[in-house]
């Protein structure tokens, strides 16, 4: 388990290094690998809990689909914010609601919380176990299930992948 965590972190950091430097010269690659290994020795256990399990093809595909769904939602959210900010009456109906999530992985919860913050009218305030507290700019319902369906929508299904 420890090796798998380390391996995943090294791979991830090394990929970022290669993309940032944008060169395939031996000396740069070796430096990058060295830095990646040193950094992941310190941060590996914090960075991921299940290691190379994240490289499961189904999970990666889920992330790709999710990114597209998410981009559309992000644009919608911005049009919504622009409308609210630019309208003279400033339409607001704010509240804090509670939502339950089925996701188990910390990383997945982070993605879910981030997407909620970036989708129309909602912002994550706090996470406690499997409950998320959400500031909603235009409250439609205070029921946990209904609010969950409206707020999380398709995100949770795409993020879940294989558990």
């Amino acid at each position: 388990m420890k090796i798998s965590r380390l391996f995943f972190t090294v791979l991830f950091l090394f990929a970022i290094w290669v993309l940032l430097t944008g060169s395939l010269r031996y000396d740069e690659l070796i430096t990058g690998l060295f830095v990646a290994v040193v950094v992941s020795l310190f941060t590996g256990p914090l960075f991921t809990r299940r290691g190379i399990y994240h490289l499961h093809p189904k999970r990666i595909w889920g992330k790709v689909v999710y990114l597209f769904v998410f981009m559309i939602e992000l644009v919608k959210a911005n049009v919504d914010v622009a409308k609210r900010v630019l309208s003279p009456s400033l339409p607001l109906n704010p509240g804090i609601v509670r939502v339950k999530t089925k996701l188990k992985e910390d990383m997945d919860k982070l993605w879910l919380a981030n997407s909620i913050t970036l989708t129309p009218g909602t912002m994550t305030l706090d996470i406690k176990g499997d409950e998320l507290f959400i500031h909603w700019i235009d409250v439609k319902t205070s029921d946990v299930e209904e609010a969950g369906e409206v707020i999380k929508g398709a995100f949770e299904r795409h993020l879940g992948g294989v558990q």
């Binding site: 970022i16 993309l19 940032l20 944008g22 992000l74 644009v75 959210a77 911005n78 914010v81 622009a82 609210r84 900010v85 630019l86 400033l90 607001l92 109906n93 704010p94 509240g95 804090i96 609601v97 509670r98 982070l110 919380a113 981030n114 997407s115 913050t117 970036l118 009218g121 912002m123 994550t124 305030l125 706090d126 406690k128 507290f133 500031h135 700019i137 409250v139 205070s142």
Partner: protein, 115 residues
């Protein structure tokens, strides 16, 4: 031909990005309290910054990969930081503006009593 298309796409993206950055700063000025301000600030500034950086990527294709990575980093860290700001102010007792429902207050009160 291709470079013309790339250049114009880049300029259009820059303009869109600037528009959303203006909207986000207007939102910060107009909204009534911290939480609503964060809402407007986060969403609009995230897309604004992403569009601007992607626009630069289109104008200078040799920087494209770096620009793409930058947008991914912004996408991951910007909402996170605003969530943390909102959480910290909620816990330190900044009152939200005219809430319709508030499920959080009760929860925090219970937590305080337990400790």
């Amino acid at each position: 031909m291709l470079s013309t298309i790339l250049t114009y796409t880049g300029y259009v993206l820059l303009v869109i990005g600037c528009f959303f950055l203006v909207v986000s700063s207007l939102g910060i000025l107009r909204m009534p309290d911290l939480y609503n301000r964060l809402q407007a600030g986060t969403k609009a500034s995230t897309l604004g910054a992403m569009c601007t950086i992607m626009g630069v990527g289109f104008l200078h294709p040799e920087w494209w990969v770096k620009c793409f990575l930058l947008t991914l980093f912004i996408l991951m860290t910007n909402p996170l930081s605003s969530s943390v700001l909102a959480r910290a102010s909620l816990r330190s007792g900044v009152k939200p503006y005219k809430l319709v429902v508030d499920e959080c207050e009760e929860y925090y009160r219970k937590e305080k009593e337990e400790n």
